[in-house]
């Protein structure tokens, strides 16, 4: 136990203020975001991540926004195991034919109002997999998408920024 405590103390807090270029943007969305999240989501935004056919690259980066450097929980963002509790679906793609039905079901299981964020080049437009017998292309081929985060895979900062921007633009969409 003493070793664990020592290691924790020695490590300290590694969570960083976001780098200046991104921080500028996030600060802008940040203040708005606080308001938006407080207003619409009772200070906590709950995300259900759905892999609709990705190569696992995007998943690794989504994991990374949970690590202590990015610490997405400080913005009130956390991930839920069930779509029933989710405010936002974070969907990576391309949508494979074999996942289409499961993705629609997950969407239908999520209470409205809800946001859909398409992650990665493949989630945006099918990427290198394109459209074929097995791949339907981007997420927007199946679900209404509120926000796209391109990148292969998008960096954790791009992901955070994308999520925040989606929330920021939230009042503009649906009832």
């Amino acid at each position: 136990m003493i070793r664990i405590l020592r290691q924790i103390l020695r490590t300290g807090i590694v969570t960083e203020p976001l780098p200046s270029a991104v921080e500028e943007e996030i600060r802008r969305t940040g203040t708005e975001l606080k308001k938006a999240i407080s207003k619409h989501f009772r200070r906590s935004l709950t995300i259900r991540q759905v892999d609709a056919g990705s190569c696992n690259g995007c998943e690794l980066e989504i994991h990374a926004i949970n690590n202590s450097f990015y610490n997405c929980e400080r913005f009130g963002i956390h991930f839920t195991p069930s779509p029933r509790f989710a405010d936002m679906l974070l969907v990576t793609g391309p949508v494979s034919r074999n996942m289409e039905i499961a993705l629609r079901r997950t969407y239908n299981a999520t209470p409205t109002p809800k946001l859909v964020v398409a992650v990665g080049d493949c989630g945006c437009n099918g990427g290198i997999f394109g459209e074929s017998y097995a791949s339907l292309g981007g997420i927007d081929k199946v679900l209404p998408v509120d926000m796209q985060v391109p990148g292969c895979p998008p960096t954790p900062l791009a992901l955070l920024n994308g999520i925040l921007t989606a929330v920021d633009g939230y009042p503009g969409r649906k009832s």
Binding site: R3, I4, Q7, I8, T11, V14, Q49, V50, D51, A52, G53, S54, C55, N56, G57, C58, E59, L60, E61, I62, H63, A64, N66, N67, S68, F69, F79, P81, S82, P83, P94, S96, R97, N98, M99, A102, T106, G127, I128, F129, G130, E131, S132, Y133, A134, S135, L136, C152, P153, T155
Partner: protein, 555 residues
């Protein structure tokens, strides 16, 4: 030439020794011949009549060979029918047995009763290529879902892959257990965590699992078919996205398979490879640097996640911190956090300078110091040990029967590692990059974690050695064009295990078939066998300790 081909020719009674390629000695039986188009020359490909396909498996099993892959190819562009292939591994050798099937009779004898991994390979071959394994005990489709049209075989040349397929009504027969107190838990495809989709069905009594049935295929994106529409150069981008966590290993394997077909004559610079191509030596070393960095980063993530699934979140946060540091260094030095698209056929596109070397060395110094502290904590946490020891055991005998590869194999007593037994540059005899691999025999979650721990240490040592001895020179060279009808093969030890690519050039020199064998294609069977007897709540822990790729399996 090869011990396996000797064993086979002796047992078949064929008066045949592979003479000087591509000659076939006079008196040889015309139905048994060695393929002259298979590259590299160290990999032997032998064509047998299809009646002998399973007999060859029996002979090779007796010679203690393991089945590495089985696949089918559509050879109609060559004016022929179809062909089935089985690739065996024994020690340092890979040996491919091929049988040709006429287009009007696509049956071939199943290998499943000789080699268990053929179970899924053959279901997949039947589903996607429409060849029929005779004697296979379970011909439910695999990857092909029940709502696909029955007559759609995407890997056939006659199939139009650009059009979407209609959905039809169908049903999948699950295995069912019956009896008092037996119940079923379906899980997935959308899982609770941030992971890929797959479906698991547990038959359980009380807390104990009596059977686990996997159903995969949800992330089937038509990768193998997609390769056929790409050029040799563009294929590497797709290979880098077969499994995002193994992007480096997959790009290296693909590139090596292409290089074995289209390389320059050796002897200019770099290692004189028996395959007869020459890629700059520096490129090989930088590839190894990328490969080992990928290994460390993924192992760190896994060690943390395994502990987290045993409710020891401390390790997750500590390990992901170290992992994040490595990814950032990758981004700074090589321009991508996972070093995606930095390996191309012919070499690499990212170099490293003296400052970069310094940065990596000091980072390794830090990571290795912190990592050792964490290992002590791991060792001393008795409650953690209680969860990981004796959980999810894959016994050595079963592991061998299933022909598992990589960390799963090494945790179950099998001493397998392509870097040692099928050494590719710079791990081969020319560059002498030596290494030790850890082998454990208990086959439980603890063993699989500890194999990773020791591999992290070893990879840190390898990277230091690479940086000290990195040869100078160019990092990329031009490639030739693959000749029609040739086939290239490569096997590389990624962080999960052995990855195999087999590429066949068509009549016009294009990609006719690209077979991808991710370690997950075999190791998922290992998970299915390791679960019965464990309690349901231990499944996530066991699954994480295997951590197989869904995307690499489904393709």
């Amino acid at each position: 030439m090869s011990m396996l081909s000797d064993a086979l020719t002796a047992a078949l009674g064929a008066d045949l020794r592979p003479g000087i390629w591509p000659d076939v000695r006079p008196g040889a039986r015309p139905d048994i011949r060695f393929e002259s188009g298979q590259r590299p020359l160290s990999v032997v490909c032998c064509t047998l009549p299809k009646e002998k396909f399973a007999e060859a498996a029996r002979i090779l099993k007796k010679a203690y060979a393991l089945l590495a892959a089985e696949w089918a190819a559509d050879e109609t562009p060559f004016g022929k029918g179809f062909a089935v292939f089985a690739c065996y591994r024994w020690g340092k050798e890979y040996f491919i047995v091929k049988s040709e099937l006429p287009a009007d009779d696509l049956r071939f004898p199943s290998l499943t009763k000789k080699f268990l991994p053929a179970y899924r390979f053959e279901r997949q071959m039947q589903s996607l290529m429409g060849v029929v394994p005779v004697g296979h005990p379970d011909l439910r489709p695999w990857i092909k879902f029940e709502d696909w049209p029955q007559d759609s075989f995407p890997l056939r040349k006659s199939f139009d892959a650009t059009k979407p397929m209609p959905r039809v009504v169908g049903d999948y027969q699950w295995l069912r257990a019956a009896g008092q107190g037996v119940y079923e838990i379906p899980v997935g495809p959308v899982h609770a965590g941030i992971i890929e989709p797959g479906h698991f069905r547990f038959q359980a009594v009380g807390e104990m699992v009596i059977n686990l049935e996997e159903r995969l295929g949800y992330v089937h994106k038509g990768i193998e078919k997609k390769f056929e529409s790409l050029s040799w150069r563009d294929g590497v981008r797709l290979a880098g996205r077969v499994s995002g966590d193994s992007t480096v290993a997959h790009s290296i394997t693909y590139s090596m398979a292409v290089e074995s077909l289209a390389g320059l004559p050796s002897g200019l610079s770099g290692s004189a490879d028996p395959a007869g191509y020459s890629i700059p030596q520096r490129a090989h070393w930088i590839r190894a640097l990328f490969l080992e960095r990928e290994r460390i980063a993924n192992h760190l993530g896994d060690i943390g996640a395994i502990c987290n699934d045993a409710a020891f979140a401390f390790m997750l946060y500590q390990c992901s911190r170290l992992r994040e540091m490595m990814l950032r260094t990758n981004h700074r030095l090589f321009g991508h956090r996972f070093i995606m698209d930095r390996v191309v056929p012919g070499g690499v596109t990212a170099d490293i300078d003296a400052a970069g070397k310094e940065e990596i060395l000091s980072e390794l110094e830090f990571i290795s110091r912190d990592f050792e502290k964490l290992v002590v904590i791991f060792d001393e946490s008795s409650s953690l040990e209680d969860r990981v020891r004796g959980t999810g055991i894959l016994k050595p005998a079963k592991a061998r029967e299933l022909c598992v590869v990589g960390i799963v194999a090494r945790a179950s007593g099998m001493n397998l590692d392509c870097r040692i037994f099928n050494p590719f540059p710079p791990y081969d005899e020319y560059d002498r990059l030596e290494l030790d691999v850890p082998v454990k025999i208990s086959g439980d979650v603890h063993a699989r974690t500890y194999v990773r721990i020791e591999e992290v240490r070893e990879s840190i040592r390898i990277i230091r050695y690479i940086l000290e001895n990195l040869p100078d020179g160019p990092i990329v060279s031009d490639l030739g064009v693959p000749s029609p009808g040739t086939a290239g093969f490569a096997a590389v030890e990624g962080w999960r295990g052995e990855i195999i690519y087999w590429l066949q050039a068509g009549p016009n020199g294009e990609i006719n078939r690209c077979m991808v064998r991710d370690p997950s294609s075999i190791n998922w069977l290992g998970l299915e066998q390791a679960i019965p007897g464990n309690i349901v709540p231990d499944f996530p822990l066991c699954n994480k300790s295997f951590n197989q790729s869904y995307s690499g399996h489904d393709l």
